[in-house]
């Protein structure tokens, strides 16, 4: 067991994109492509195993060493602030974190005049840090999903959320007013794993890095 490298992947698109990247360096797990409901996929010939978990849980598995490495969005890393290494930007899962508000509000709104805002978000820490650096007081409403709903029913004036195509915002009559940061997925590594198995993990990082640097 101790020679097996455990990788935690977030269920969904990032999982697919990561596996595509791994395939380019010769690591593939066809079993994962099916409709399997398994949570752990063993790859004995590579001495690896993959576990598929919720994106927000990936850093936790890696921090405690239940997984040696993982892949997770920068948004989640910043929000959770865990003690981890994040040696590589995989340049997948691109999106941006932005402040959005109803179209109506935007017409007369001037972000530089904000002094106090009420924001619904899944990312209270990032939001608070962003606004406090601008000197704006922020009243946070932490939600776990369907953030776009909040301004429509008067729960908050604005939201901070991830935007990729902008389609969800548009369908709910919201527009982006400020971009907070660009987000991509990162390779993260447990500290003890990196120290006790640096040759293997470093080799994996370097092979992935040269693929990422090539672009798609």
């Amino acid at each position: 067991m101790k020679d097996v490298l455990t990788v935690a992947l977030p269920k969904g698109r990032i999982q697919k994109d990561t596996m595509e990247l791994l395939e380019r360096i010769g690591i593939s797990c066809p079993e994962m492509d099916g409709d399997s409901r398994k949570l752990i996929f063993n790859l004995p010939e590579e001495k690896m195993r993959f576990m598929v978990v919720r994106a927000t849980d990936v850093p936790t598995y890696v921090e405690y060493g239940a997984a040696d490495i993982g892949v997770v969005g920068k948004d989640i890393l910043l929000e959770q602030g865990k003690n981890l290494y994040e040696p590589l930007d995989l340049k997948i899962g691109y999106c941006r974190m932005a402040v959005a508000e109803p179209e109506e509000l935007k017409k007369k709104d001037n972000p530089s005049e904000w002094t106090h805002v009420r924001i619904a978000t899944k990312f209270p820490k990032i939001t608070e840090k962003y606004f406090s650096e601008k000197g704006v007081q922020v009243e946070l409403i932490k939600l776990y999903g369907s953030i776009e709903l909040a301004p429509l029913v008067g729960l908050s004036e604005r939201i901070v959320d991830l935007v990729s195509s902008g389609e969800t915002l548009k369908q709910n009559g919201l527009v982006e007013v400020e971009q907070i940061m660009e987000i991509t997925s990162r390779l993260i590594v447990n500290r003890a794993s990196l120290k006790t198995r640096y040759e293997r993990i470093n080799d994996l990082i370097n092979r992935l890095k040269s693929e990422v640097d090539k672009g798609i």
Partner: protein, 430 residues
């Protein structure tokens, strides 16, 4: 109105816990093994208080201020704190009581420290630490000795697959000081290098306008980890005199460790920046395969004692006993924590035979607990099992004669019958 949570009269504060017998025994065994190794290297134990003045503890490391539990001394009105670290206490103790003592001083300690946890994990506020300090020497052999002891101490607990990761804080400081960066930029690089975020560093460098040699040095920081080849790679970089000196020092320390024949346990990381600012040279941290958190940590702190009025160099480390137990469990190397050899059941009216046997066993170092309660043999057996007792000694009973004793092994369920007199004459192996 927010309702107050109902308060349970038996609850403990967050992050604080009791240790029941199985765990307490393991803690004592691990602590005993570590302390024994420290003794074998000539270190002598000191005991420091759990409470001190806040200001005195904070002298060592202002960063500890917000992590300490604080309260008021009703008599003096001063603020007291529970110790979050023992190194600072050893520094104070040495600078006061042992200032005139010939150097070097080799001191060790074991004790509980208390602190608020990290912001991301406040579930552990108490640690039981065993550690040592080598005071009065700034030679590489001193650091080499301390690193060698940490390895021997960890080995003595039964742990096998672990590494001591060695760095030198002056290398990173030397590199950074020569760059003329603004404090904000410096802070950002600190945090990027601590995360080994190569991609983030590449992005940041685009905004900094450094010359190509400095860029190369910075970009290498998150990759300068691994075996001894790290030093060769670092040597090719154009760095300041301070950074060069740090590399020479690290190399000298590793030579000592090599002479002890312990290089297999060593990894090197020049991009490691420990949270505590009191380190001034070599730093190191232990990691065990299968355990996410570090298992020990230490390094050189040449300026710490001068905070207490005694300007002398020092180096040392501490091991968190509980983390070692976790690591041993993860590697399947932790014993059961059993301490009692036999439960003594007397089936006869007369207690004298039973108590003579108990006395005999104890005098031979075999631990025996009397099953004072009258109950079924099966109940006695399950009691022994639940108390982690290895076997039963049954004096008398139905199927044996009056001068016989039955030895029952809880695990194997095997029974052997012996004459009581044979046992007392030392003819029975218990």
């Amino acid at each position: 109105m927010r309702k107050r949570e109902p308060f349970s009269p038996t609850s403990l504060p967050k992050g604080i816990r009791d240790y029941l017998p199985d765990m307490a025994v393991r803690m004592r065994r691990v602590e005993g093994a570590l302390s024994r190794v420290f003794e074998l290297w000539g270190y002598r134990k000191v005991i420091t208080p759990i409470i001190e003045y806040l200001d005195v503890l904070a002298l060592a490391e202002p960063g500890l201020l917000e992590r300490m539990f604080k309260f008021e001394d009703r008599v003096s009105g001063k603020v007291l704190a529970l110790r979050p670290d023992i190194t600072a206490q050893i520094a104070r103790l040495t600078a006061t009581h042992l200032k005139l003592h010939p150097k070097p001083l080799r001191l060790s300690y074991s004790g509980t420290i208390l602190h608020y946890g990290e912001s991301s994990n406040d579930s552990q506020r108490v640690d039981y630490q065993t550690g040592l300090e080598l005071i009065g020497l700034d030679l590489p052999e001193a650091d080499g000795e301390v690193i060698a002891i940490s390895i021997e101490a960890l080995k003595s607990t039964g742990l096998t697959d672990f590494k001591i990761d060695v760095g030198q804080v002056e290398f990173f400081r030397g590199v950074m000081e020569s760059l003329n960066l603004l404090p904000d930029q410096r802070k950002e690089i600190d945090s990027i290098v601590a995360r080994k975020d190569r991609s983030g560093l590449e992005e940041l460098l685009k905004t900094l306008n450094l010359n190509s040699a400095d860029e190369e040095t910075l970009l290498s920081l998150p990759t300068l980890f691994g075996g001894r080849d790290v030093l060769d790679r670092a040597d090719t970089l154009k760095v300041s005199g301070k950074a060069k000196k740090a590399l020479e020092n690290l190399s000298g320390v590793l030579d000592v460790v090599e002479s002890y024949g312990l290089m297999d346990y060593i990894t090197i990381d020049l991009g490691e920046i420990r949270d505590l600012h009191y380190y001034t040279g070599i730093i190191f941290e232990g990691f065990a395969a299968g355990t996410g958190e570090s298992i020990c940590g230490g390094g050189r702190y040449d300026a710490l004692l001068s905070n207490y009025g005694y300007d002398t160099p020092a180096t040392g480390f501490a091991i968190n006993v509980e983390t070692i137990i976790k690591a041993l469990e993860n590697q399947g190397k932790m014993d059961s924590g059993a301490t009692t050899d036999y439960l003594l059941v007397n089936c006869k009216q007369d207690k004298r035979d039973a108590l003579t046997i108990a006395k005999y066993c104890r005098s031979r170092g075999i631990s025996v607990a009397r099953d004072i309660v009258k109950r079924d043999m099966d109940e006695s057996k399950s009691f022994a099992e639940s108390e982690n007792i290895k076997g039963l000694l049954i004096v008398g009973g139905e199927s044996v004669s009056n001068d016989e004793i039955t030895v029952y092994n809880v695990d194997s369920e095997e029974k052997t019958v012996h004459k009581i007199n044979d046992l007392l004459d030392g003819k029975v192996d218990l």
